[in-house]
Symmetry: C2
DNA sequence: AGACATGAAACTTTCATTGTTACGTGATTG
DNA sequence: CAATCACGTAACAATGAAAGTTTCATGTCT
């Protein structure tokens, strides 16, 4: 596939969950992001480990936010979905015996590492709550268009 | 494959070419970076279009630097190899009708775009010559170990 | 007991990059 | 002018990572 969508999808889901009464099942969440329930469980496992969401089995079970959106940063989400590699470019992983390649790799790695540090700092500075407010603003400006256009509107 | 290696490989090749007497064939270059001559031609095509290297056909043909390394920035190389996508994360390409997803995507795109701008500015500020000097430093510090350890040392 | 929902393993599909083969064109040499 | 060398390009195969899918086990509520 093109790129790793987990962080984007997770943010999307978290904001929906914040507006969802009661628990949401993996199946319902899967419909929100047009995917499969198993994919949802896979993504959410990391968030549960970090106490961002909780899950319950059985009748009436499903997923629930375990803390307010204001206390979740984009960095938390990024790490919770498995901190996938940020960059699509860069040197190959294994070191080379060629001194030229070593110099190139070191310079490139250092430049990318610095960019990564800055980007992750940005992620740390943004809460999911802020993104939710972005949504609210869009909702107001749209004249209250139907905000969640998936088929059955499962209880929101 | 894992990530796009073209920029890293191109830098590696450019520095070797700078130390190569006469023209280097695609086959020789391919051995430097452990790949295939066709892959080399594919990568170099963009550099030729930008006047960074030139190629000649036939006997004694091959590739040659067309300008000094000091006049080539990492950004030039990045663009010459086709400016591949920088990031491995981010929202999916096609826009969604869901306002929540729109807000998430917009915020993420903006954050990544800012990071991309800064990283490309860094690339613009670094010349291939600087990286070549990194190599020279390593070469000195290594006690003049064999710098290009591919089998036949094809004329360097 | 039966229905519901997560947990997790295993497998398939999809997509981008890289690797490979094959053939055409131009240039040099004998 | 024929052979060889080397690039130019198209077409196809291999590889690897993320996402999609199937399947079964486990736990929970009615």
């Amino acid at each position: 596939m093109a790129r790793d969508l987990r962080m984007s999808r997770m943010l999307h889901v978290l904001i929906h969950m914040d507006r969802h009464v009661g628990r949401a099942t993996s199946e319902q969440i899967a419909q929100m992001i047009s995917t499969n329930a198993v994919v949802v469980r896979r993504m959410m496992a990391g968030l549960r480990e970090r106490g961002i969401v909780s899950s319950e089995k059985g009748h009436g079970g499903g997923w629930q936010l375990a803390c307010p959106l204001a206390e979740i940063s984009l960095l938390d989400v990024y790490e919770a979905v498995g901190h996938p590699p940020l960059f699509n470019i860069g040197p190959q992983a294994d070191p080379s015996p060629c001194l030229v390649e070593q110099a190139v790799d070191a310079r490139l790695d250092a430049t990318l590492a610095e960019a990564e540090t800055r980007l992750l700092a940005q992620f740390a500075a943004i809460t999911v709550e802020e993104v939710a407010q972005d949504f609210e603003r869009r909702f107001e400006e749209s004249g209250h268009a139907v905000p969640f256009p998936w088929h059955g509107a499962t209880g929101e």
